[in-house]
């Protein structure tokens, strides 16, 4: 049986808003596909061998913690730049800033050219997105202190809520199998269709079959939420 290996990166620094839910979602959905899942909690202090993982996950943290991670992750700049082309990256919340050119002038991984700026007031609120990848909308929440000046390779089109910055209606970034978004917390639990899409792409890239199952508690919760808050599914 194939083993899919997931790294929960900087799990003890970037875990602010229910981020571990995303790892739970990946694990459960993968296990349903009859693959073995190994999750490693990795962090500062021991060298990280990014290459041995199929999925690299990183979530949101308090600003001071993000700064600790920024200083640590810079040593992997080269290898990460290379791996972004082949591995699945799922980066939620402010961790996504690390992949840009800089954060308030401080060096970042420079994998994407965008710059991050801290703003005065926190950006907090409900999010509803559309994405070219899926028929149905994506829901979520944001609670952040920064904006980025990206307007390319967007993951989401904002229907409701906040975009990368006030001059665009795009949010997040998607290149190859890199998914980055300011959306916090259990994004993949609340959007099982997005979770399944990522898993499907990963399994198929490994020559494995993907079996669809749309009757899970996560799908029920998702549809119930759309109904309760009058969010239109696209094919309605």
């Amino acid at each position: 049986m194939e083993t899919i290996r997931i790294a929960h990166l900087y799990y003890d620094l970037l875990n602010l808003y229910g981020e571990s839910g995303n790892v739970m979602a990946l694990k459960q959905a993968l296990e349903k596909q009859n693959v073995k899942v190994r999750i490693d909690l990795v962090t500062k202090g021991k060298p990280i061998n990014f290459k041995e993982y199929d999925i690299l996950y990183m979530g949101q943290g308090m600003e001071d913690n993000l700064e600790i991670v920024r200083k640590d992750i810079l040593r992997y700049k080269k290898v990460l730049k290379r791996l972004v082309k082949s591995k699945t990256f799922i980066i939620t919340g402010n961790a996504y800033e690390l992949f840009g050119h800089d954060i308030d002038g401080k060096e970042a991984l420079d994998i994407f050219p965008f710059k991050t700026k801290t703003v005065r007031n926190r950006i907090v609120g409900e999010q509803v997105y559309k994405t070219y990848l899926l028929n149905d909308p994506v829901i979520g929440f944001q609670n952040r202190n920064e904006i980025i000046d990206n307007d390319e390779n967007n993951l989401f089109n904002v229907i409701k809520g906040n975009a990368n910055n006030q001059n665009t209606h795009f949010e997040g970034i998607k290149i190859n199998n890199f998914y980055g978004t300011f959306t916090l917390g259990p994004l993949l639990i609340r959007n099982p269709h997005l979770n399944d899409l990522i898993i499907k792409n990963l399994l198929e890239s490994k020559g494995l079959k993907y079996h669809e199952d749309l009757d899970t508690p996560d799908y029920r919760a998702y549809h119930e939420y759309l109904k309760n808050f009058h969010i239109k599914a696209s094919n309605e």
Partner: protein, 452 residues
């Protein structure tokens, strides 16, 4: 002149609210202060305060600590003005203070002004006049949509007092303990020693303040009480919980007592957080000059009634209603721990219609910061999910590997009592938030009166 008018306006509106309460539907705990500060924006800076201006703040436990402190002080003959109803925002504090102030001498008529304070409002209320004492109970994730995160809460508290304030802090919390290293004034520390339910490893990885604030090295814990609360030290520098001024040891929740610095102290509730609020109250009162004997008398003999919920019954089954704070993962966790530690078979009712009573955001991320995995226990017979977000709660429970046959979704609340009666066993615990408590109480009362 302006000040006198502001005080009189406050008193007049309070009086009006009292008289016209049935019509206005306002209890007058907030509105008077609002109008008084319209008359004079800086009114609270201009009063003659008593010798003790005491604040109690933190993410949880501030209300319980405040009422216990009031009980101890009043029992020892102090005249205490305090916010009994727990309103802890600016206008509420202004209303309370001005109602107890002489409009002409501007003197606040008390020995002690004691306020439970929301972290965000301390600086507004005590802008020029600073607190003489401030108790900081803990800093945890709490209503993130409003408060951001623990670091932001920490910074707000940090900016709200000066070196003249004597701070009394919970050193078991590494975020709160930063004040020990930062504060230029007097610091008194308290903490809880070894306890039977401590763990060597954290229950989950969702731990705040895991790294040393001075040198960014990962902290080492001797034990965790819950969340990030425990006994830790930095392997690289001096930052540590260390020896505290007031330590609770030999805790016995069943028999409701503990030892503080060799003296026996009664607990008015059989829950772990009672240890913290009792200890905090003890440390504060000692700091204010009361003797061990004076404090112990109020705790051990003139015992304060705990805000115990009325007991309900469903047939012969006892129902315990536990108010669980949404968006405060550690408050939820403690409820779960409490239920788990109770003896016998249990049924749980949980869920909510609204995430918050303050705002309309549906931030559900905190559900994944709560260790619902702990409910995977054989003593738990059934879990009923109610409310508008029941499917999200259900999904969370499933990710916690709770088997399907233990979870029942209640789509129509009208059926809750019948369903619980028919399909579950054991003592019933409700762990719901503000919006469900009243509905469930009503249903239970109807059931008691034989409507089912």
């Amino acid at each position: 002149m302006k000040e006198t008018l502001a005080i009189l306006v406050n008193k007049a509106i309070t009086f009006t609210c009292k008289v016209l309460r049935p019509i206005l539907k306002s209890d007058g705990s907030v509105t008077p202060g609002y109008y008084a500060s319209k008359v004079d924006k800086h009114i609270l800076d201009k009063l003659k305060y008593p010798r003790y201006i005491v604040g109690i703040t933190g993410s949880s436990g501030k209300g319980s600590t405040t009422s216990l402190v009031a009980h101890i002080l009043e029992g020892n003959g102090y005249k205490v003005i305090w916010n009994k109803n727990g309103s802890n925002i600016y206008n509420a504090a202004a209303t309370l203070i001005l109602n107890n102030t002489n409009p002409f001498t501007k003197k606040v008529n008390a020995d002690v002004l004691l306020l439970e304070l929301d972290e965000s409002f301390i600086k507004l209320i005590f802008n020029k006049v600073k607190l003489t004492h401030l108790v900081i109970t803990n800093v945890t994730r709490d209503q993130p949509a409003r408060n951001g995160h623990p670091d932001i809460i920490f910074k707000k508290i940090k900016n709200s007092f000066d070196s003249k304030t004597h701070i009394i802090i919970n050193a078991d919390d590494p975020i709160v303990n930063r004040f020990k290293y930062l504060h230029n004034g007097q610091v008194t520390t308290y903490g809880v020693g070894n306890f039977i339910d401590d763990t060597k490893k954290p229950i989950s990885n969702t731990i705040d303040g895991a790294y040393c604030p001075l040198c960014e090295t990962k902290l080492k814990y001797k034990y965790y009480h819950y969340g990030h609360i425990g006994n830790y030290s930095c392997p690289n520098c001096k930052f540590a919980r260390g020896k505290v001024d007031y330590e609770a040891t030999d805790i016995n929740l069943d028999k409701q007592f503990m030892i503080i610095n060799k003296g026996i102290v009664h607990l008015n509730k059989n829950v772990f957080f009672a240890v913290y609020y009792t200890l905090a109250a003890y440390a504060l009162c000692k700091t204010m000059g009361l003797t061990n004997k004076q404090i112990q008398h109020e705790l051990n003999e003139d015992i304060m009634d705990s805000k115990r919920m009325k007991n309900y019954y469903l047939g012969r089954r006892k129902v315990e209603m536990i108010e669980s704070k949404n968006e405060n993962a550690l408050s939820y966790l403690q409820t779960i721990n409490y239920i788990r530690n109770e003896k016998g078979t249990k049924t749980i009712i949980m869920g909510f219609d609204n995430v918050s009573r303050r705002y309309e955001f549906n931030d559900l991320s905190w559900l994944y910061d709560v260790d619902f995995e702990l409910l995977n226990d054989e003593s738990i017979n059934k879990i009923f999910c109610i409310g508008r977000f029941r499917y999200d709660v259900y999904a969370r429970l499933k990710h916690a590997h709770i088997p399907d046959d233990k979870i029942i979704l209640i789509d129509d609340l009208e059926h809750i009592i019948l369903e619980v009666k028919k399909h579950s066993k054991g003592k019933i615990y409700t762990m719901v938030c503000f919006d469900m408590t009243a509905i469930l109480k009503q249903k239970l009362l109807e059931a008691q009166h034989g409507n089912y």
